[in-house]
């Protein structure tokens, strides 16, 4: 079902500060993402999940280790040109307030210099995919939180990236919207066949969406568990919670995630040391 590895992380380490204030957030992360996969990353809050995704998306640079994309290894962060292969969705809606929905989705095309009719058509296509075609002239303050996140997803897809990186995209939304958007994201993934790496703190969400779940320990974070989610995708619908395998995995995963919870949180530790 899944093909060769799309990108690979090798011995990734991330540290902040220096000397006495050195904090190791990510210790030694090795994994590869296969094309077409849906990977969920879970772990205790503050365990560096966001940091890992930001390194993968080129927003931050790793302190040590290398990343492979398109058969090139990068030791000093992902260069700007390569970031076109990703679409990043942030935790809080990250739309530009002065642009309409349509213009917001257009932003990556402007930055990358993708001109031409087929790209312009893609904006409408993506808006339709997330169900916002009727709202393309609205400003962000006129949209609900769920709609804004949908627009962010459309924006992340408009330039036809190889992979979608999502950092707890539904965390700030209410439970019902969250569930709705989960199903919608599943549908989008099935229709577009993109590779997806998503951070979530919801076991339900991970089991609904992911083909593989990676659990990080608390800082200094390592991968402590990798779980293959073998529930067939045609069974993943509203009746999923009755599925036997689902219940088994749910309990297993919940225990694992709870087990990674500790009271030490690296960012707070860092701040305390600086103060």
């Amino acid at each position: 079902m899944f093909n060769e590895s799309l990108f690979e992380l090798n011995a990734i380490r991330k540290q902040y500060g220096s000397g006495n204030t050195l904090v190791t957030v990510l210790d030694k992360i090795d994994f590869s993402v296969r094309e077409g996969e849906f990977v969920c990353i879970m772990g205790a809050s503050g365990s560096g999940k966001s940091t890992l995704l930001r390194i993968m998306g080129g927003i931050e640079k790793q302190t040590a280790g290398k990343i492979r994309i398109n058969n090139n290894w990068y030791k000093d962060g992902i260069p700007p040109m390569e970031r076109r292969d990703f679409g990043y969705v942030f935790q809080q809606d990250n739309l530009l307030a002065w642009r309409t929905t349509e213009k917001n989705v257009n932003l990556p095309l402007e930055i990358f210099g993708y001109k031409g009719k087929q790209w312009k058509d893609r904006i409408a296509e993506m808006l339709d995919l997330v169900g916002l075609l009727n709202y393309k002239e609205c400003y962000p303050h006129e949209l609900s939180g769920g709609m804004r996140q949908r627009a962010s997803i459309a924006r992340a897809l408009v330039h036809d990236p190889k992979a979608l990186l999502l950092d707890q995209p539904f965390g700030a939304l209410d439970a019902i919207t969250r569930k709705e958007l989960g199903y919608r994201l599943l549908k989008i993934w099935k229709e577009t066949g993109k590779t997806v790496v998503m951070i979530t703190n919801s076991v339900d969400e991970a089991l609904l969406l992911a083909s593989r779940i990676i659990v990080l320990s608390s800082a200094p974070a390592k991968i402590c568990h990798i779980i293959e989610n073998d529930i067939p995708y045609q069974d993943r619908d509203e009746s999923l919670s009755d599925n036997f395998e689902y219940k088994r995995l749910h309990e297993q995963l919940s225990n694992i995630v709870r087990g990674t919870e500790t009271t030490d949180q690296p960012e707070k530790e860092f701040a305390r040391k600086l103060a």
């Binding site: 700007p80 002065w98 932003l107 402007e110 709202y135």
Partner: protein, 257 residues
């Protein structure tokens, strides 16, 4: 589905209220002057002010008004350009901001009247002098507000640009500048006020021409009606200038609730 945002309606109450207040003030003014027999050299009657002002407008006021308008508007436009440029450079280089900010504040705080005699030694009665004073007083306030606008960008938005590998220029044009517009317009509106004050101040110090000079001349000749009239004219000019900028602001900044 139609556009969701509503067009801002100007209710008749909103327009009528200041007008009504204005009429009441004029009426009270007239009554007070007659009732308390206030001398015309202290507080002239509004009716006389209007009558004399209209009579003398073409000959005495209009040429000076043209001159003052030229000084104010030229000074303002140049200030806007320089102010925003300074802010743009500062936003790119933190070191520049740190070294330039105290200087800007210094200009802002120093009353121009103290510097005008020095300029007069340099430039004599050159009309450009007044424009220079307007620029010196107006540029700092525009620059400071714009710098403030440029520096208050949410981190998450910067990360958004970084996630796409945007260049510095792209980040500036697509994020930093539009994000700063509300603050920039605050500076532009304050700039209107400062440029008029600076122009009038320069007129008073240097003399010979301009509406500010006219006001002081009328006062010294106890032509109080004309003095009042000219002051009101200057205030009106300021109001109109402010309103024009506010109107542009409303047209450009449509995204705030």
């Amino acid at each position: 589905m139609k556009k969701a945002h509503a067009k801002r309606q100007i209710s008749p109450v909103k327009m009528a209220a200041p007008l009504a207040l204005f009429v009441i003030i004029i009426a009270v003014w007239e009554i007070c002057v007659s009732a308390f027999h206030i001398s015309r050299t202290i507080l002239p009657r509004p009716e006389v002010i209007v009558r004399q002002f209209v009579q003398n407008f073409a000959r005495d006021i209009w040429p000076q008004m043209q001159f003052s308008l030229w000084v104010i508007l030229t000074g303002y436009v140049v200030s806007v350009v320089i102010g925003i440029l300074i802010a743009a450079v500062c936003s790119q280089f933190k070191l520049v901001t740190q070294s330039v900010s105290p200087l800007i504040i210094l200009f802002l705080v120093t009353p121009m009247n103290t510097l005008v005699p020095i300029f007069m030694l340099w430039m004599g009665f050159n009309p450009m002098e007044r424009i220079l004073i307007v620029i010196l007083q107006t540029t700092p306030i525009i620059a400071l507000n714009t710098i403030s606008g440029f520096s208050k960008v949410e981190n998450s938005k910067i990360e958004l640009m970084r996630s796409m590998g945007a260049t510095r220029v792209q980040t500036f044009c697509k994020l930093i500048f539009p994000n700063a517009l509300p603050q920039v317009f605050t500076g532009l509106k304050l700039g209107c006020i400062f440029s008029i004050i600076a122009a009038m101040g320069a007129d008073l110090e240097i003399g010979k021409s301009g509406l500010g000079y006219r006001i002081s001349e009328y006062s010294s000749l106890t032509m109080t009606e004309m003095a009042y009239g000219t002051i009101i004219l200057v205030a009106l000019m300021g109001n109109i200038m402010f309103e024009i900028v506010a109107k542009v602001e409303r047209k450009l900044i449509v995204w705030l609730k």
